[in-house]
Amino acid sequence: MPRSNPQRVFLNIPYDQRFEPLYLAYITALSAMGFLPQATLGIAGNRRLDRIVLLIESCSYSIHDLSRVQLDRHAPRTPRFNMPFELGLTVAWARANPDHKWFVFESVTRRLAKSMSDLDGTDPYIHDGTVRGVMREMGNAFVRPHQPTVPQMTKMYRDLRRDVPKILHNAGARSLFTARAFSDLCLAAAALRSKYVRRR
């Protein structure tokens, strides 16, 4: 069993182009809080599930965004089950290991009660589908010494967003949802934290 690292947070979000602004917002806000985001990007093959479980177990926290409940655009049109499935894996892990803390984010108030009534009694963090909402709710979920402010996170986000084309170019990638682009974005966001978020 891997030892969980206090900085590592499992980020369970949809990987699609429409979600890009919120994807960058999550990376920014988590980095501003001092987290090291981890995602299933780049995990492929027939042992994918085992590696996802190991990834969850290596993290002390997890963020589950259940806002993508619509059918996708491509035939055959299907909902995305990966996010709720990975939340289920996490909840099972956290029951055996209470040190693991998990958080659910949604964009619409009260929708979770309909989409996943098993979580009744759980109040998700509602980000309204906005970048600012993700940053605001991250500040509601976590508190730390020298708490980053939303304006600081916004500055980080703007810089990160501006640098996306260069990061993609360096990675030789077309999509931000690749393992290399993800790690480069996380490092860039951590660097921007040191630029905008005061330590002492």
């Binding site: 900085q7 976590f142 730390r144 490092l187 630029k195």
Partner: protein, 64 residues
């Protein structure tokens, strides 16, 4: 689900962040330069001065 949680840990240095993300040193340097942050060998960071001109090489003093 956890309620509002207090984080006590210190953020990792940039060097350690790059290591844990699996970003090789040269690539990490390029990314830091891209966002305008420099990192020394101990992983400390600082802004790149807007007023810095030239490189360490060009600033080298040569004997006349």
């Amino acid at each position: 689900m956890a309620r509002r949680t207090r984080l006590e840990f210190e953020p990792l240095s940039l060097e350690e962040t790059a290591r844990q993300l699996g970003v090789p040193r040269r690539r990490a340097k390029r990314i830091l330069a891209l966002v305008g942050v420099k990192s020394d060998s101990k992983g400390r960071t600082g802004r790149v001065s807007k007023h810095r001109v030239g490189s360490a090489k060009s600033a080298r003093v040569t004997k006349a």
